[in-house]
């Protein structure tokens, strides 16, 4: 007689080899392969790298004569680190002992919040970085006068009809504004695109799991 799946299951596990646990050694020191731990590690490494980079850049900026860039960089990236450190502490609160739906939902909410906040930050971050570089080089000392002023005087020498606003050529202001606008427009998208490259499959799987459980809840 054909066996039911229940009987196959019961009979199968009566055999002595069916439930042999792998021996685990030194588990405490193992690096976790879990997605949450992976996020935590990635976050920590990123935050440390940002702090180290912004601090190093701050010092270098004084030596190369663009302290404005260094200071704006340092302040902007510090804000980014503080916000993301808070996000990371939320991840520590996730409880794995709750139902799968609650767990997946909490994890998904954390991801959505993290993505949304960093997407918003990216819209400001890229334009601020561009602006800081622009200001840094504009006010960089060039033989006694700021580099920007020197550049303007050379432009005026070649093109005396150049229209200026607050001493800056209009064409320059327009180009800078266009670049800032484009960076603000695409900053969030660049962040999402970058994130999807690495975690796209994880997000897709989470969405599928949630949809499947939600179909059972309705």
């Amino acid at each position: 007689m054909e066996k039911s799946i229940e009987n196959i299951w019961k009979d199968g596990f009566l055999e002595s080899d069916a439930l042999v646990a792998p021996k685990v050694n030194n588990l405490y020191n193992q690096k976790s392969i879990h997605i949450i731990d992976k996020f935590k590690r990635m976050f920590k490494i990123n935050l440390i790298a940002i702090v180290a980079f912004s601090f190093a850049f701050l010092i270098v900026s004084f030596f190369v004569g663009i302290p404005i860039t260094g200071i704006i960089f340092f302040i902007t990236l510090s804000v980014l680190v503080i916000i993301n450190k808070r996000l990371l502490s939320d991840l520590h609160k996730l409880d794995m002992g709750v139902s799968s739906y609650q767990y997946l939902k909490a994890f998904n909410q954390w991801i959505q919040k993290q993505v949304a906040i960093n997407e918003k930050i990216s819209r400001f971050l890229y334009p601020i970085i561009f602006l800081s570089m622009l200001l840094g080089f504009w006010f960089k000392d060039a033989e006694g006068i700021p580099l920007g002023e020197r550049l303007v005087s050379e432009i005026l020498f070649g093109f005396p009809d150049t229209y200026l606003i607050f001493g800056v050529p209009v064409i320059g202001i327009v180009i800078a504004l266009v670049i800032i606008g484009l960076l603000a427009l695409f900053g969030g998208r660049i962040y999402k695109w970058d994130l999807n490259l690495v975690y796209g499959s994880v997000f897709k799987k989470l969405k599928e799991l949630m949809t499947d459980i939600e179909s059972l809840r309705s």
Partner: protein, 163 residues
């Protein structure tokens, strides 16, 4: 993790963990990694156990939640997600059980969606619909219908009628 905790709090429930990890892995190497990860997360989460449920149910929840959200190793990118100091001693050279029917059933279960795998595993472990619903976080009324559908699909897979 102290070996005492492993021996007293995890090893007695290793059967549950092994059965579940088997359903979500296709190789001995992946199975060892999943088993280790579940043990690690149980140990890390032990302080969150509030005795609102049985320890075995709680272990089941952790195991399931880990299996559902574990990053699978990519063959060409192993070092990306995995420790360089794994010390699992493999106890079997072959991933398959000696019971052929059980192997076929596991192969069929692996062809189900992740949630269906969880439901049928809990059902086969003789959990009530209410318990299954509590572990997964869904409505118990729909569990019975879903189990019927899963069993039909499993039967078709076992009979070679669908992939």
């Amino acid at each position: 993790m102290s070996s005492d905790f492993y021996k007293t709090s995890i090893l007695p429930f290793a059967g549950i963990i092994i059965k579940l990890c088997r359903a979500y892995t296709n190789s001995q190497e992946d199975f060892d990694d999943y088993y280790q990860e579940v043990c690690l997360q149980i140990w890390r989460s032990k302080d969150n156990f509030r005795e609102e449920s049985k320890w075995s149910t709680w272990v089941y929840r952790i195991s399931l939640n880990v299996c559902l959200t574990l990053l699978k190793k990519k063959k060409n990118n192993v070092q990306h997600f995995v420790s360089d100091s794994i010390t699992v001693e493999e106890t079997e050279d072959n991933f398959a059980f000696s019971n052929e029917s059980l192997n076929l059933l596991y192969d069929a279960i692996r062809k189900l969606s992740e949630i269906d795998r969880a439901i049928i595993m809990l059902y086969l472990e003789e959990k009530s619909y209410k318990e299954i619903a509590e572990i997964i976080g869904t409505n118990p009324n729909n569990i019975g219908v879903r189990i019927k559908r899963i069993k039909i699909r499993l039967k078709k897979i076992l009979d070679g009628k669908v992939n």
